[in-house]
Symmetry: C2
Subunit: 640 residues, 2 copies
């Protein structure tokens, strides 16, 4: 069977996000975050490093992953430029492009680390270093730049680089049978193929994906060639980089979570392009592995700091959750690609879960600071978590930058291109995956259609869609009924319409004419959510959710020692929209209890349980935590 | 005020443990553990290393702490020898003593690492290495050997070593103002003082304790002398080795837990010897810090693997609990010394808690294998705990040996000298701290007294004491009423006696005559114990305890996923003595519930809590866990 993907995402250039929740965040991203990241990249020397002026003995040598951070910024800035012309920004991008073009070697190579710090070692350690990863991000940036501006220079520079890579790697004589330790270039090459129509880039991507995990193992041979014992590999297993077996045999999400998501995204791309059902089946199993057994309630993935990645099923500890921002972004990338195979709510649910919670949490309210890890509980500013780990990852405060700064530009490029995640179109149908005020230019059933969304989502579950086809036309409008929603209602032009739901999407098939109005109402009560009984940390606990938002308690609202708060099973919730709090949020309050410490004197253990006292609980959306006074945070709350 | 310690421990040579719980363990220690450790010390080359034959280029260089492991074995073997003559064992010890004597340098130095691996570096890194620590253990061994056998050779060798150390360190001209990074020699020198009567050893101990933490900081100067930046100290803070401030200003237990306990033990020794109330006050505050805010229910201390030690108050996570065996042994050493200042139940309670739980858990039922860390919950053989930490400390199986093998001989020496922890005597009084079948030869009120204990403790709370003075004599017999006991009863010669309890000890003052019988009955129901409301991991959980024993659930009895079991608040307990199980134990059963996984299909989170099904819970003493099939273990159990 050849898979024929029925859907493609509507490109972000055709989707204007208009105010509302995400309009606000996209504006912060454009006006604050993207400029702030540029300043950091300048200050840290990452942009200047592209000039290849570093010489041995100088301070601040270009790091193996520096190019990728700049590339992601160029990608983010390009997306932004496409929606908001900005000559100054364009000049910044062009200058970077010029610098890279100047530094590219005659054969097409570019890497600011390898061309300066260790020129003798090019392509000698694919397993640990980030050479092909950086190339991948540069390619993504070039494609974004081309699509945003129409300028071909960067694209052509990167085509030359990709062509050179295609000569180095492959199954031909004299070629290296290698593939990247940190996946990324695979999905980038699919983008390059789409941008150029050159099938050789698709083939190179396929080669990298297919070669992965084959025997004799390239990383063994490569280590031996470096004079190392392959058994001394620090990560102990090639699961770390998903190279432990061929990709079609991989059914469990393992290893470094960002690497995993980027690989699975490429696998989904390639399955869609080639109709390879074995590849698609692996993708489906891997998606299940992640979302049914290895995902935090927030859409965070990869619980362990040791490998920045996965451990075993249902192992989702709260305080020590790594849940790297980039990993949740990677989950969004993967899930969006899975939507090409048809509407299935589970993919858009995963996108929404990660986007509103574990990704957005990484960005400060003002857009200037970032979380790298996104734990579900923080006590004493992560003091224990860090003392155990011995590193400073865990923190109750977002930071302006990180020595390994993958996350900040990753958020920026996601927010700038967010429109791409909202709609899909097929030949006779349109799907709405996410709800946000926006205007989309579609083409369906041979007809141009404008689809206008107006909503206060995620604060309110009512969404008004106005359909404006160029002429009356028959097509199916599919509206996602989110997994969190237990009661949904649709009215068309003011009349109730019976809901026919398939794979989580209401399908409204009719001849649409200009001005048709669809009112979708998603009931959005405050809900209690319970964890699978194998999640061993959170039994007897409950999470407060409303719509797509996971809530949390903060010390600033509830006093510290949040684990002492218990929510009675029958307590009612009260919500309020507080427009002056954290950019305007709906807060949740309830009558709860709190352990009473006052009668514990001079004893650590005793025969009587603690007494309790009343506590008025106040919860805020998880994404908004850590923007006020430094303090504790808790998602899973004791119940009973 | 000069402190005059009213009590001294009755030496282990005067206390014969006769069968019963501890008699059995002491026998296993003598016949299995001590020989097994000797074999390991031979096989690993630790004994042979004492010959100083290692040369650069040879494999297996003597490690900086190897001497201490051998020394602790000699100490254990000497204790055992004193109670059970054994010519073969004595020959093994003598051979080691001869080897050390031969290797001692003319000035008196001995260290198998420094004399072979880095002879140029003697006394250059007190902060990180273990030179004075090894010396301390050798001194303790020499004192034990002398007391057990009357042979003076080892004692004299170590007096020469101590004298040499006294020339190197001190406040005189040309002397180093140093002190050990790993405390131990301080308490050893007090023992050497007691064995020899030479006050210079007491003075040297005092010097080491007093100098600690003074400014300019010796470890700073020493690092600079090595050409290192003191700020690059791996542990970041001198709290790690309790050298962050002078000891009298230390009121919170910090850093590496074993180091802390050894230091505090020496401080208590010195306070008793010198009457230094400031030192005693620091000891009291440190004991409170440990036992009221930083101690596991099992008597384990030091929750963090990162520093093998303390973090902050009430930070007592279960799965990642380090709770090193040696640290709990150290707590016992510290608490016994605090008993010199008078009977206070809290000290003997701490000894009992650690001894029956967090220390005994480290030894396998057959005496051949050991735990280094003693977590309060184990899931999947510590897979996550290790993946997070990146090391193989956490394990559901005891190991025969460790690369850092401090714990095995430490258990052995504790068990061999256990008699020393049972009784104290003052001029007009005798105290019984621990209950075990034993016969003690005492001297009180100028009279020899035989005190015989018969009991099935810890399985039964009845203890029969028979007092046999050489002549009728007036003295006070103090019997500890353990903190876990809520109802105690005393009969003397069959007649109920009103209990007068002071600081947790019943005092029975009368003219004792031969054959007087005291029957102490400690009610020993199964109890539920609750944690202080600041212990954030275990709120809503309960521990099952009976007498001095903490209980746990094991997978082999309850199925895996023990966190899914919940004990109803009102459930009754049923106990049974199972003589064929784990050497004969009292087990506890109750009707509980278990989460039902069967209606969780294809979802990780949902709106309804899990259903439950009945579960017959079975608990065994914590010390006995891990001796059957490999599996999960849990102390703190959900309640409600």
């Amino acid at each position: 069977m050849k898979t024929i993907p029925p859907f493609t995402s509507v490109p972000y250039q055709q989707v204007t996000i208009q105010g509302g929740f995400w309009g606000n965040w996209q504006e912060i991203n454009r006006t604050v975050t993207i400029p702030a990241i540029y300043q950091q990249l300048k200050q840290t020397g990452q942009i200047d490093a592209l000039s290849l002026n570093w010489k041995p003995g100088m301070p601040n040598p270009p790091h193996i992953f520096w190019d990728s951070d700049v590339a992601k910024w160029v990608e983010a800035a390009s997306y932004s430029l496409a929606l908001h012309p900005d000559p100054a920004l364009e000049a910044q991008i062009d200058s970077i492009v010029e610098t890279i073009a100047r530094g590219q070697t005659p054969e097409g190579y570019f890497n600011s680390h390898y061309l300066t710090v260790e020129p003798q070692n090019r392509w000698t350690n694919l397993r640990d270093n980030h050479e092909l990863y950086c190339a991948g991000h540069l390619i993504e940036a070039a494609v974004a730049h081309f699509r945003a501006t129409g300028k071909r220079k960067f694209l052509e520079v990167m085509m030359r680089y990709a062509d050179y890579i295609g000569t180095v790697f492959g199954r031909g004589e004299g070629q290296k049978r290698g593939y990247p330790g940190h996946e990324e270039i695979e999905l980038a090459l699919v983008k390059l193929y789409h941008a150029t129509g050159e099938k050789r880039y698709l083939d190179l991507s396929l080669y990298f994906v297919d070669e992965r995990g084959s025997q004799p193992h390239y990383y063994d041979l490569e280590a031996i060639a470096r004079g190392e014992d392959p058994a001394s590999y620090w990560a102990k297993t090639y699961e770390y980089c998903q190279a432990h077996k061929p990709v079609r045999e991989q059914h469990t999400a393992v290893g470094h979570a960002v690497r995993a998501m980027y690989l699975y995204s490429a696998m989904a791309d390639l399955a869609a392009e080639t109709g390879d059902t074995a590849l698609l089946q692996a993708c489906c199993k891997l998606f299940d592995s992640v979302t049914l057994r290895r995902m935090y309630l927030t859409g965070g993935i990869g619980p362990s700091a040791g490998n920045e990645g996965f451990t075993f099923d249902y192992d989702l500890p709260n305080e020590t959750a790594y849940a790297e921002t980039c990993a949740s972004i990677g989950l969004i990338l993967f899930a969006r690609r899975m939507l090409r195979f048809g509407c299935d709510r589970r993919y858009a649910d995963a996108i929404e879960r990660a986007l509103y919670n574990g990704v957005l949490s990484a960005l400060s309210q003002d857009g200037t600071r970032f979380f790298y890890v996104n734990p579900l509980a923080v006590h004493r500013n992560g003091e224990f978590t860090n003392s155990f780990r011995g590193q400073g990852f865990y923190d109750a405060r977002r930071k302006e930058w990180y020595a390994c700064a993958c996350c900040p530009p990753n958020i920026a490029r996601l927010l700038a291109s967010l429109g791409e995640y909202v709609y899909s179109e097929g030949s006779q149908e349109v799907a709405v995956h996410l709800y946000m005020s926006s205007r989309a230019r579609l083409h369906v059933a041979g007809t141009d259609v404008i689809l206008q969304q107006e909503t206060d989502y995620p604060w309110d579950g009512r969404v008004k869609l106005t359909v404006t086809p160029a002429r009356a036309v028959l097509f199916c409008l599919r509206l996602r009924i989110p997994g969190w929603c237990r009661r949904a209602k649709v009215q068309i032009n003011g009349e109730d319409t019976p809901l026919e739901i398939e794979s989580g999407y209401a399908h409204l098939e009719r001849t649409w004419k200009a001005g048709d109005e669809v009112l979708l109402t998603l009931e959005m009560p405050v809900d209690r959510v319970y964890p699978h009984p194998r999640i061993r940390e959170n039994q007897e606990a409950v999470a407060i959710c409303r719509g797509p938002l996971i809530y949390c308690l903060e010390g600033v609202d509830n006093g510290e020692h949040l684990y002492q708060i218990r929510l009675p099973r029958q307590a009612d919730f009260e919500i309020a929209y507080e427009k002056d709090l954290l950019g305007g949020i709906v807060t949740v309050q309830a009558d709860a209890v709190r352990l009473d410490e006052s009668d514990w004197e001079d004893t650590l253990y005793r025969f009587q349980p603690s007494q309790t006292q009343p506590h008025r609980l106040k919860a805020v959306p998880y994404y908004a935590w850590g923007n006020r006074a430094e303090g504790d945070m808790l998602v899973w709350l004791r119940e009973g």
